[in-house]
Symmetry: C2
Amino acid sequence: MESLTVGLGARSYAIHVGADLLTALPDWLKALQLPRRVMLVSNQVVAPLYLSTVECCLAAADFQVLSVILPDGEASKNAASLEQIYTSLIRSHCDRQTLLVALGGGVVGDITGFAAATYLRGVPFVQLPTSLLAQVDSSVGGKTAINHPLGKNLIGAFYQPRLVLIDVKTLQTLPARELSAGLAEVIKYGVIADANFFHWLELHSANLRRLEQEFLIEAVLRCCRIKAAVVAEDETEQGQRALLNYGHTFGHAIEQLCGYGQVLHGEAVAMGMLVAARIAERQQLCRMEDVQRIRELIAACGLPLQPPSLSLEACLEVMLRDKKVTAGRLRMVLNEGIGSAKLVEIADPGEVFAVALAPELLHG
Amino acid sequence: MESLTVGLGARSYAIHVGADLLTALPDWLKALQLPRRVMLVSNQVVAPLYLSTVECCLAAADFQVLSVILPDGEASKNAASLEQIYTSLIRSHCDRQTLLVALGGGVVGDITGFAAATYLRGVPFVQLPTSLLAQVDSSVGGKTAINHPLGKNLIGAFYQPRLVLIDVKTLQTLPARELSAGLAEVIKYGVIADANFFHWLELHSANLRRLEQEFLIEAVLRCCRIKAAVVAEDETEQGQRALLNYGHTFGHAIEQLCGYGQVLHGEAVAMGMLVAARIAERQQLCRMEDVQRIRELIAACGLPLQPPSLSLEACLEVMLRDKKVTAGRLRMVLNEGIGSAKLVEIADPGEVFAVALAPELLHG
Ligand SMILES: NC(=O)c1ccc[n+]([C@@H]2O[C@H](COP(=O)([O-])OP(=O)(O)OC[C@H]3O[C@@H](n4cnc5c(N)ncnc54)[C@H](O)[C@@H]3O)[C@@H](O)[C@H]2O)c1
Ligand SMILES: NC(=O)c1ccc[n+]([C@@H]2O[C@H](COP(=O)([O-])OP(=O)(O)OC[C@H]3O[C@@H](n4cnc5c(N)ncnc54)[C@H](O)[C@@H]3O)[C@@H](O)[C@H]2O)c1
C-alpha cells in the first residue's frame, strides 16, 4: 500500500492506494475516530460486486451499517438520487455523527459528497472509488455535484472527504471501455504536469490495459500526487486548478451534443485533448511531434481520436455557454510541449476551432 | 450607521446597521469588489415594498440586475423555491461572477444562502434582512438551509455572506406579531450572554415595539455583536454556538406539533425559553426571581407565555428525534442566572419536562 496526503490544513486527508484495501476500511475509520454509524452509498452495478464485502467487515468491527443503492449511470446523478440519500438518512434518524461512504465510480462519489456537504449542513464522508476515473480524479479534491436538467454539475459544493481508499483490485470488474475512459484522465496528468509520467505511460499503457496490479498502483498514485498538489494550491478553482480542465472545454461540448451516455466523459476528454493539442501547436506552444505523441498514446489506450461529426456552430455555442467562460470570453487550457499547460484566452474561437477540427489535421 | 465584523479569517465580513441603508448597497458592493452582475432574491410580500428601491440604485450604479421572487412563508422554504433560483440563474447564463442578494426575512435569507452555497459550487452572496428575526439572528453566521418534507432545516450548508446590510427602517412595515417574534430572539441574547442588555431590554421593550429608530439600531447591534462573537469562536456549531439554541429544543417541538405557520418561530422560542428557565430553576442554575424577570420581559414584548396544550409524550418524541440529540441523549441549553448559559444533559427528560410544563408553575 502507498499513501499520500492532500494538504489542506485542518481539512487535510490521506489517500491510500493498494490492492485489497476495501477490507481495511474499519481500521482506518477507527484511526481517524470517525463516527461508528455508517451509511454506505453505492449503485445497482457496483453494489452486487462489492457492497457486502464492505458491509461485513464494518459490521464485524462493530460499526452500525446502513446502505442505500442508487440507480446506475450519469442520468441518475440528479436531485432524485440525492433525495433518495436524504430520505434514507432522515428515516434512519441519522444525526451529525453519521459517516457517508461512497462506493462506486465518479457518479456515486459526486452525489454522495454533495449529500454529505448538505445533510444537516455537513457530515463527514469517505471515498471508496471503484472506477479508474474516480480513482485518479473525481474522488480526490472535494468537488461534489449533481446535474441539473439544464446542465451538468451545475449544483454542488467544494467539500473534502476525510479519507480516500483506493483498491485497484476493483478495476478487475470495470468494463474495458470504462477503463479506457479513465486512462484519458491519466494521460491528461502527463500532458499538463509530468513529462516523465507521460513517457512512462507510452511504455506501459498495455500493462495498464491488462490490469497488471503494480502498474495500476503506480499510475493511480502518480495521478493522485499531481491532483493533490494542484488541489492543495487552489482548493476552490480560482486559478491553477483550472488546468485540470485540459481537454474538457471541447470535451464537454461533445458530451453535451451527443447526449450523455453516448460518448463517455473520458472519451470526450480524449478527443478534447487532441483538439487542444492541435490548437496549442498552431499557437506555437508545442510541436507537431508532441501532438503526434499525444495522439498515439490516446490510441494506444483504446480511446477514440475522431470527434463525431457535429456542427462547429453547435460546439461553439455550448463552449461559450460553459461556466468556465468568464464575462463572455472563451478561455481554455493549452499544453506547452508535454508536461506543462496554461490557461489561454482564445480571441477568435470560431476560426481557431475550425482549423483544429479540420479532419485532415486530426488524422495527422 | 454602526458597523461590526464577523471575524472568520479569510471569510470575515462586515455587518452595517442603520436607517436608509438599502440604497448604500451599490457603494458597498463596489468597495468589496463584488461581481457587477446581481441576482436579487425576494418574496411576494417584501418585493412590492423594497425590491424596486434596491433594483434602481443598483442599476443606476451600473450593475446588471436580475431578480427572482419566491412565494412567501415558511412553507416555501423548500426544494421548489431553491429550484426557482437555480433555474433563473441558469437561464440567465449566470457564471461564478454573479452575486446573490437576499432581500427579505429569515426564509428568503436561508434559501438564498443555500442557493449561493451550491450554485456552481459556490457564488458570493449578501444579506439584506428585513425582518427583526433576520436582522438579529438568521442573516449573521452563515447557517443556510431549506426544509425537507420530513423536517425543518435538514438540508443546508455553513456558508458565510460577504456582507450584511441591516436597514432598520424596513421594520416599519413588518407586522407587529412578526416584530414580537423577533424580540424573542433578542431576549434570548440577553438571557444567555449579556445581563446588562437584558436589563436594557426591560427598560426599553416599549421603545422597540414603537419602532423608535435609535433603540432598534442599538438592539440589533448588540445582538449582532453577541452572535458575531459566538460564530467567530465556533463557526460550525461544534460547541459554543449551540448555546444560541436556548429555548429552541422545546420551541421546535411546539412548532412542529402545531404545524408551522400556526405558531411563529419566535413565539415558540419564547415559550421554549420559559420552559428552559423553569428547568434551570429546578436544577438550581437560576433563581425563581430570574424566571419571573424572563416571563415578564417575554410578556412585555407581546409574546405568548403559555404553550398550546400538547401531549407531553408527543413533545418528548419530537425532542428526542431532533438533530441536536447526540447518540440518543437529550441535551439542552439552560440559563445560569441571567446573562450566561450552558449545555446540560437531561437524564430523565420525561420527568423534567412534566414538572416544567405543569400549568401552575408556568403561571408563576
Ligand atoms: N468530482 C470531480 O472532481 C470529478 C472529476 C471528474 C469527473 N467527475 C464526474 O465523475 C463522473 C464520471 O465518473 P465515472 O467515469 O466513474 O462514471 P460512473 O460512476 O458512471 O462509472 C462508470 C460505470 O462503471 C461502473 N463501475 C464503477 N466501478 C465499477 C467496478 N469496479 N466494476 C464494474 N463496474 C463499475 C459504474 O456503475 C458505471 O456504470 C461524471 O459524473 C463526472 O462529472 C467528477
Ligand atoms: N440561519 C439562521 O441562523 C437562522 C436563525 C434563526 C432562524 N432562522 C430561520 O429564519 C426563518 C424565520 O425568519 P423570519 O421570522 O424572518 O420569517 P420570514 O422570512 O417568513 O418573515 C416573516 C414574515 O414577515 C414578512 N416580512 C419580512 N420582512 C418584512 C418587512 N420589512 N415588511 C413586511 N413584511 C416583512 C415575510 O414576508 C414573512 O411573511 C425560519 O425559517 C428559521 O428557520 C435561521
